[in-house]
Symmetry: C2
Subunit: 325 residues, 2 copies
DNA sequence: CCAATATAGTTGACTAAGTCAACTATTTGC
DNA sequence: GCAAATAGTTGACTTAGTCAACTATATTGG
């Protein structure tokens, strides 16, 4: 997905904005006999006793000679103790002395007071949003390679509402379906919870490592031997990553394991991406019928996947569509 | 709302994290004959032609003498033009020359490339979340006094799902109610949409200026002359601000206007804050009955507010609770 | 009207923060 | 066993920025 110039501008504006804010917080620390760099060094040693200078230099982006002088200055003032590493005589473990902690503690408290003052200027709503946003930004950069790792889990409290909300909002935005659709989904989720047979029915939620829900799918029991696949959804920004296939695959796997003979599903002709997924998973269309729902003229389609026997497995392995013989 | 130590720690951790990231972006700029401070100065002049040095010094936190030398250096290289202000001869308007723009343009492009590279390392899901989070952080600090302004609106697509999600998640977290409750709420919202009479039934969503949903309340038609108040909820971080009272007041006002004779509601004994709101709005408890629901032993309570006649209005004006006569 | 004060910008002298490179001591890998 | 790499130190130096005193101009108050 290409990066837009608008997105670039937003990040740079944020960086300028936040650089000023961090600058203001940092200036508060300068009201001390220690420079900002010294305080940063002290902070890391306080929170990671035993850390070594090479680590600090690397992580804080400091010249090794410069850091050495800072540490020597701390040691000279009795704030720091250095112990040669048993494992590698080149290395020294760094620790604040009790005197060092006494010097550091008020700096820590001052910093905490500044942040407390900043946060208390925000009411509950904005503050919660701020903290969540910070967590999101840190999370966005924390996964290796920046690729969202998505895992599937079963449902927990709040998920039904999310399913309803996302279906309602997205289908309205993408297809113009009105609130009848959201009501339908709400009803499906209510029934799912009320009549759930965990051995044979399930909801899967796709969730990123940052805790964002990115997709869902349901399997519910139908008439004898038949399961129903329902409410497949993938968030727009998570599309194209194989997430839909993952959801459908897991659903089919579970249905086999639960002993169903077939899976049926009802979709609409205009949901091209979904239909493609079903096709690739081996489903075939068994019925097709125009109807008017959700404020739209639609064409409903019923699709089906046979689960039993070698023939079903072979047809699936052949890529879904079998030739007539 | 007091600031917790955990919240303070989260902000400081974010600041440390993001300072490193901004540092990496800034270092990219240093691959030029200009220092970071010089580039910042150049940036501001490029984007605000005519700006004056005193403004820049103030906003960028620079020593006036130091800035003067930087500007003199730019002028000496033919990158900057200074014009004495017609309004105040002490002041000089600053503008980049064409040569200055030619020097600045590649720096701007390099910065844009860096951000593009950073963003393109994130897939669609994480990137969208990141940009939204940055917008939230900037927005959190931008409102005067930091007080969220909240308005009420009627429902739109996605809202029913939000109502279900928030009820499910919050009541689970705060009271341990299981998914039966979420299913109940899903059913209520499905029925609301399916049978909505807009002249006599309504859902209100409380929304902040930042677009966050902060609360909700429903009024639905009951038996003849009776309205039902349902699904009052206020987000934890929006509590204590009068939002609950606002929602209940609007609900009661609408019910009067729609011609109902009374409003009834069903709540649980342990929902103390809600009961207090109903009490203050003039509701009286008419029934009380233990029951087991949502995985809990609860005590359900029915409350009622008479809307008709002077007697109802007088009793309300007297503070809700009327004396027996 | 004018002296005192404040503001905008400049310059000289200086300090603080940090860089660069060469050094010693130790470890690693061939 | 030894060359190369790493951890840490030190001398010399550069860069970034500060501090205070200056000139020019505007504002204020008596």
């Amino acid at each position: 997905m290409p990066v837009s110039n608008e997105q670039i501008s937003e990040v740079r504006a944020f960086n300028r904005d936040y650089t000023r804010r961090i600058g203001v917080l940092s200036e508060g620390l300068l009201d001390s006999p220690y420079s900002l760099t010294e305080v940063r060094v002290m902070y890391e040693i306080a929170h990671r006793p035993g850390v070594m200078a090479a680590q600090l230099a690397g992580e804080l982006g400091l010249d090794r000679g410069y850091l050495s002088r800072i540490l020597k200055g701390f040691e000279a003032k009795g704030l720091l103790a250095r112990a040669t590493s048993a494992a590698d005589a080149r290395r020294r473990h760094l620790r604040l002395t009790p005197a060092g902690r006494r010097v550091f503690a008020p700096l820590e408290r001052r910093s905490q007071r500044q942040v407390r003052s900043m946060l208390s200027g925000l009411d509950g709503s904005r503050r919660a949003a701020l903290l969540e946003a910070m967590s999101v930004i840190r999370g966005a950069f924390s996964a290796p390679g920046g690729q969202a790792q998505v895992s599937l889990r079963t449902h927990r409290p709040g998920d039904m509402g999310w399913v309803v909300e996302r279906h309602g909002a997205l289908y309205f935005r993408e297809y113009g379906w009105n609130e009848e659709f959201e009501a339908l989904v709400a009803g499906i989720t209510a029934d799912f919870i009320r009549t759930l047979d965990p051995a044979r029915e399930r909801c899967w939620i796709a969730e990123s490592t940052a805790g964002r829900r990115l997709g869902c799918i349901f399997l519910v029991a139908g008439e004898s031997g038949t399961a129903k696949l329902r409410l497949l959804l993938v968030e727009p920004e998570a599309r194209g990553l194989g997430l839909g296939r993952m959801l459908v695959s897991e659903c089919v796997r579970f249905a086999r394991a639960a002993g169903y003979e077939r899976i049926v599903l009802w979709t609409q002709e205009n949901l091209a991406a979904a239909r493609h997924l079903y096709e690739q998973a081996g489903f075939t269309r068994t019925a097709r019928e125009p109807h008017r729902s959700f404020g739209k003229d639609l064409v409903g389609e019923t699709w089906q996947l046979e689960l039993t026997g070698r023939r079903a497995a072979a047809r699936h392995a052949a890529g879904g569509r079998s030739h007539a013989t």
